[in-house]
């Protein structure tokens, strides 16, 4: 049955592609009560001075914790910003007070919403690179992660391509 062999080969090919994609996209970092799932950023054009970081932050602890910001060798500052679309107008504002991750809850930084703003990029963010970043929480909690750099047109981390 040559057809069956063909189907099997196709199935293996799909399985292999999905497995590879899954490992590339689902990296996560755990530190104490904090788990960070698939932190990513968009590649930047040469000369662009700002970038954006997205991720899911899960609080596995019994107490809320507040994300205050972060730092990265790739930029002079890392701030939390909120983007909104209002009648076709894009607006962006810093979230000065930080973001509370509820006890045993999670927050998601994602396109079109809240994100980390990498201000004063020291070099362009290059697709498929990993950029180290430290998340700062209250209580002096620091979590080291790496942003996986997606394509410049990426609308969401590894989906919708």
């Amino acid at each position: 049955m040559p057809n069956l062999r063909c189907v099997r080969l196709v199935a293996f090919a799909f399985a292999a592609v999905f497995a590879m994609t899954a490992t590339a996209l689902s990296h996560e970092y755990v530190s104490g009560q904090i788990k960070v799932v698939h932190p990513w950023a968009r590649a930047t054009a040469p000369g662009a001075t700002t970038g954006v970081g997205y991720m899911k932050i899960i609080n596995q602890g019994a107490t809320p914790i507040r994300l205050l910001g972060g730092s990265t060798p790739a930029a002079t500052a890392v701030e939390i910003h909120a983007m909104s679309m209002d009648g076709g107008v894009m607006r962006m504002r810093p979230v000065g007070e930080g973001l509370v991750v509820p006890a045993r809850g999670q927050i998601e930084l994602k396109p079109g919403s809240i994100h980390l703003m990498l201000i004063g990029l020291k070099h362009p963010l290059v697709e498929e690179d990993l950029e180290p970043l430290t998340l700062n929480f209250d209580g002096g909690v620091r979590v080291n992660i790496e942003l996986y750099i997606e394509s410049m047109g990426a609308a969401s981390g590894g989906h919708g391509h």
Partner: protein
């Protein structure tokens, strides 16, 4: 194990077939929806420069259909994703794309000098012309298309820009014929560009 693989393969093929059907239907539907009728605002007269320091006026926009997007190079989300999306759409459109004028107008001329625009736009389709220049000239062009933008101070000394995120479609007479919304389905957007290009 073999049976699992066979079922898996059948399921995957089913998903692919259904998925392409859904995309095809979406395209057909979007192809039927008419663009807003022409006759809207006429593009204002303006004098700006492009990323190669060449003067650009309304005469460079008129005479062929145009695609106009307002943004700034410090914009990390809407602008690069829109320009990347336009780059992909112009590629998919093929030869008719050469009939379009495509413009990225900065709303932040203080930082977006011609060299800054040249560097930024080097990542995108080379047919995209970046426009910068005197703030009042940019304001005139934006106003004629109903584009809003405003400088917003940020704690710590910097600033960002609020701006209309839609892509504007103009006919060869510089009249407004429609928009592509931020994040609009790419097949729907392609159908609009194809109709605009007359191909």
């Amino acid at each position: 194990m073999l049976r699992v693989i066979r079922y898996g393969a059948v399921a995957l093929i089913a998903v692919l077939v259904l998925g392409s059907l859904a995309v095809g239907l979406g395209w057909l539907q979007s192809g039927r929806s008419p663009l807003p009728t022409a006759g809207g605002p006429v593009v204002a007269s303006f004098h700006l420069i492009d990323q190669a320091n060449k003067p650009v006026s309304e005469h460079d926009v008129l005479g062929r259909p145009a695609v106009v997007f307002f943004g700034f190079t410090y914009c990390p989300e809407v602008c690069p994703t829109t320009l990347a999306s336009l780059t992909g759409l112009l590629g998919r459109l093929g030869a008719p794309a050469d009939r379009l004028g495509v413009f990225f107008v900065t709303v932040d001329p203080a930082r977006d000098t011609p060299p800054a625009l040249a560097s930024y736009l080097s990542s995108f389709d080379p047919r995209i012309r970046g426009l910068t220049g005197a703030p009042d000239q940019i304001a005139a062009l934006a106003k004629s298309l109903g584009v809003y933008y405003a400088r917003v101070e940020v704690q710590g000394g910097g600033y960002t820009m609020d701006h209309t995120a839609s892509v504007f479609l103009l006919d060869a007479q510089g009249r407004f014929v429609g928009t592509i919304a931020y994040g609009e389905n790419s097949d729907a957007a392609l159908a609009k560009l194809r109709r605009l290009a007359g191909g």
